[in-house]
Subunit: 327 residues, 2 copies
């Protein structure tokens, strides 16, 4: 018997999620049976895409759907040894018993911190890479605009575009993030959409228009980007964080898709499994050479997952928001 | 010397175009010089896509940009004989002198009226065909929704989809048009969006969802369609008539592109020149066999072009709106 905890959704948020929408629930796990393993969660991911699920797909009174990295602390499954580090989609559970399905052993690179497997080398990096290069069909040297460029996905998108020789403009919501993007990540121009008039600033920053707009925001960002799209431009749609909590303005400039022959296309990370081996090789190199820089916002303590999730919508994260459950 | 007339834009419309925004202007043409022809306009096209030009691309005090079919009434150009029927983009001119560039001789099929070259066999038909089959990548037997299904483009889209064995739902704004679409064009279901709640009616009419939404409207139509799109659905964007005169609601459901991996893509007729020969052969056969039916709304008199154009935004046309300038 092992004590554990889970994060539950206890009511459906109206607009912005609030702490009272969640509960930390004590549980007790049976010992692993033959073929099973006991996993200690180490790092948990909180991501904007979780919010829409709270309107329906996420069951009330069950552990939040989610992914993370854990350590096998007891194994009765021949495929896993005690101490193995595994990527999992077991949800927001402090510890859990698994029959091994959905667990993938990762061999952390000794020269990189484990946490990079949660973002640049993990799902958000694969999302950024596939969305930009495959869905967005990025060509070398093109004009690129990235929204939420200070976030886990956006910051990787922006830097991959830089590596491809593109002119890269990012938008973000604080001067600190803007400074990091300009000075550390090396973007060509950065817009703080909270202090600058977005449409005017974007026009000034994109004298050659936009070939690829990597869409994480929706609303006014999309309307502004649509006015700057070059013919045959692409808008890979990764997220629309401005709409997830309701409210916000509708999008009015979609007619600009027509004459520009612009393509908007949605995608999710799981579309890019076929790219993973190449991606991991590329990204490991980029991280070691310093061509891809990253920021992390780490909250210590399993019970802080709701705080981290809510913080995403308040822009409290610089880079990837991570919940550290154990060392 | 030949007397002619032109339709001019004399002020930029605010919202819906009004008769006072246009003027019929008398002109005098010099006789054709060596290499030139004199053309009598016979049929002129008015189309929703003209409206956005009035905000800027259309010069004030010049003939409206536009296309039509004319007859060569005098020729000093060896490529054209008196009596030749030509497709042209010379704009809204009753008669005009041309050096022949931009004129294409058409050989009207004796079994079809000349006017079909203005719609089903012309630019609107090519737009419908290319937008549905190439941009929309329609597969046989798919689920299709067409907005402004009673219009020149929409009615052809809907019927090509029927020919391809698809389940076809159309929306239109009057019971007369709905009856024609159901009883003559053979659609599986028709929604009168002015008398029925669009989102609910669309849900009921698309029990298997939507694979291709042929977009002519924008706004609430797009929001409703987005809730019904199947995974990997396509939204070829031909027009957004609801937005052309300003006002209207912004689009709020674009986040549904993401998990559905839905693609929206703009296009214009000129993208499909490479399809034209095959299209003309197919469409000629479909028209003769009765597989494609059509409606025309013909206004007699060159000076009625503004009335026809304004009427498009008031839904006064059944099928293609045509201005007949001469017999």
């Amino acid at each position: 018997m092992t004590a554990s905890r889970e994060i539950h959704l206890v009511r459906r948020p109206q607009g912005m999620p609030r702490p009272e929408d969640f509960a930390v629930v004590d549980t007790v796990l049976a010992d692993p049976a033959e073929g099973e393993v006991l996993v200690q969660n180490v790092l948990m991911s909180v991501d904007p895409y979780m919010r829409p699920r709270f309107n329906g797909d996420q069951a009330l009174g069950e552990a939040l759907i989610g992914s993370g990295i854990g350590r096998v602390i007891a194994s009765r499954n021949a495929k896993f040894a005690q101490g193995d580090i595994v990527r999992h989609g077991a949800g927001m559970k402090e510890r859990f018993v698994s029959d091994g399905r959905g667990l993938a052993i990762i061999r952390p690179d000794p020269d990189l911190p484990l946490s990079v497997h949660m973002h640049a080398l993990g799902g958000t990096g694969l999302t950024a890479n596939g969305g930009l290069l495959e869905t967005g069909k990025l060509g070398d040297g093109e004009q690129v605009f990235v929204s939420t460029a200070g976030g886990a996905v956006g910051s990787v998108v922006a830097q991959i575009a830089r590596i491809k020789g593109c002119h890269v403009v990012g938008s973000t919501g604080s001067d600190d993030k803007a400074a990091w993007l300009r000075d550390v990540a090396g973007l060509d121009a950065v817009i703080n959409y909270k202090t600058q008039p977005l449409a005017e600033a974007l026009k000034a920053a994109t004298p050659k228009g936009i070939d690829v707009y990597f869409e994480n925001v929706g609303g006014a960002h999309l309307d502004a980007a649509l006015t700057r799209m070059n013919p045959n431009g692409r808008i890979p749609v990764c997220g629309m964080i401005s709409t997830y909590n309701g409210g916000g303005e509708g999008v009015r400039n979609l007619f600009l898709l027509i004459y520009g022959r612009v393509t908007m296309q949605g995608f999710v990370a799981s579309d890019f499994g076929h790219l993973n081996a190449r991606f991991v090789a590329d990204m490991t190199g980029w991280l070691k050479s310093g061509q891809i820089r990253y920021q992390e916002t780490v909250l210590d303590g399993f019970e802080r997952a709701p705080e981290g999730l809510i913080g995403l919508f308040e822009g409290r994260n610089a880079g990837k928001m991570i919940i550290r459950v154990a060392e």
